[in-house]
Symmetry: none
Subunit: 226 residues, 2 copies
């Protein structure tokens, strides 16, 4: 059984993507989805490398069925977030950082490590959108750059970790070219991504998919005056 480092970079990427995807959606990706995300042009190449991963003992495949993949070994770097102790019965969500124009947010690798005791916020069950508290995190909003989404300085946004999104969902997106993180509604267009503010008075932003990195989707917002 090969060591993870012995796999080709492409195969490592595939494993990482499959693991993340499955964690986010609840089912594995298709061959073509793997190809898109790992910059593999041909489905047969994905198929080829999947078989290599089976040989290496990382994967099980159920032949001829869609999404017939199952990862059977842990993958460095995408280890599942460990459960964090809590006293309260109320779900406690990791408050991992601040989101603001011009600053990146470091996710998800850093979550498990950089958390301290105080960096939690209690969140009622109803505001977790049915997701497990372990795949949910919170950010404090800094600055007024999200005003057009009815979110202001000091708000706490609750998000679910995921790197993809469905149309209409509100996401935290990191725009590398602009060195900016923003909260917008997500829409996949023909060959670009439309980031739509909540307020109709503001114009949408169009970005190339390569310049749009989804960090998570917004489940809820909490604000305290005082």
């Amino acid at each position: 059984m090969k060591d993870f480092k012995r796999l080709s970079l492409r195969q490592q990427n595939m494993l990482r993507f499959m693991s993340e995807y499955t964690g986010e959606r609840g089912f594995p990706p298709t061959i073509r989805e793997i190809g898109e995300r790992c910059d593999i042009a041909s489905t047969s190449v994905v198929n080829y490398n999947l078989n290599k991963l089976v040989e290496a003992g990382y994967l099980q495949r159920s032949g001829k069925v869609s999404r017939g993949l199952r990862i059977i070994r842990d993958i460095p770097g995408v280890a599942p977030l460990h459960r964090l102790a809590t006293n309260s019965n109320s779900p406690r969500v990791a408050l991992v950082g601040r989101i603001a124009a011009g600053e990146p947010i470091s996710l998800p690798e850093d979550i498990a490590h950089h958390i301290e005791e105080d960096d939690y916020v209690a969140v009622p069950q109803e505001f977790l959108g049915g997701f497990d508290e372990n795949e949910v995190f919170a950010l404090t909003v800094r600055g007024d750059s999200m005003i057009d989404s009815m979110i202001q300085d000091g708000d706490i946004v609750i998000l679910r970790q995921q790197s993809t999104a469905d149309n209409g969902e509100m996401v935290a997106a990191w725009l590398p070219e602009d060195s900016e993180t923003t909260l917008k509604h997500f829409y996949r267009e023909a060959d670009s991504i439309r980031l739509q503010p909540a307020n109709a008075a503001y114009d949408p932003i169009f970005v190339h998919p390569a310049n749009c990195q989804i960090k998570g989707k917004v489940l809820s917002v909490m604000r305290s005056y005082g």
Copy 2:
């Protein structure tokens, strides 16, 4: 959200099968596989019942993709695929009504009477502003008349019952002459009261003190996208 026992026997079977299948194989079953195992002759019937399960809050579906199923609630008799958060012991606050332009809110006498079991919302301690939960109530915002305060339709505002306010506090004010309830920042001027929107683009409202009845001050705002 329906109780498990309220589901049809067929739907219960489907849930059990989906959960077991996913646990065994690592990916959810197809519509046809569900049909076979649950003695359902037509794929459309499976599809129909899957949508029912989504309505009941047990399932998430990713449209148009194969095996696009995810169980999001525990199912009696089946080992849970992932841990779901436990019941909350957060303070529970009475959700006494809706606030909207043109509609009065009946406070505080009716609070004790009109409340039913569902009319509570769990609120984390941090969002009660240090007040006792018994003197705090919640309102659902209806309409977009409060957009200028970064509060939108569907938001839940947490308020403390009080009939006066300090300058700068955000209050729910009932304006008898206009038959209107509104959320604004409160400022006492020489011989009038200024109700100031949060957004500078909007003009303040000046009212005579006799035409301004404070219902409570806003402690926090909670919003769930769902």
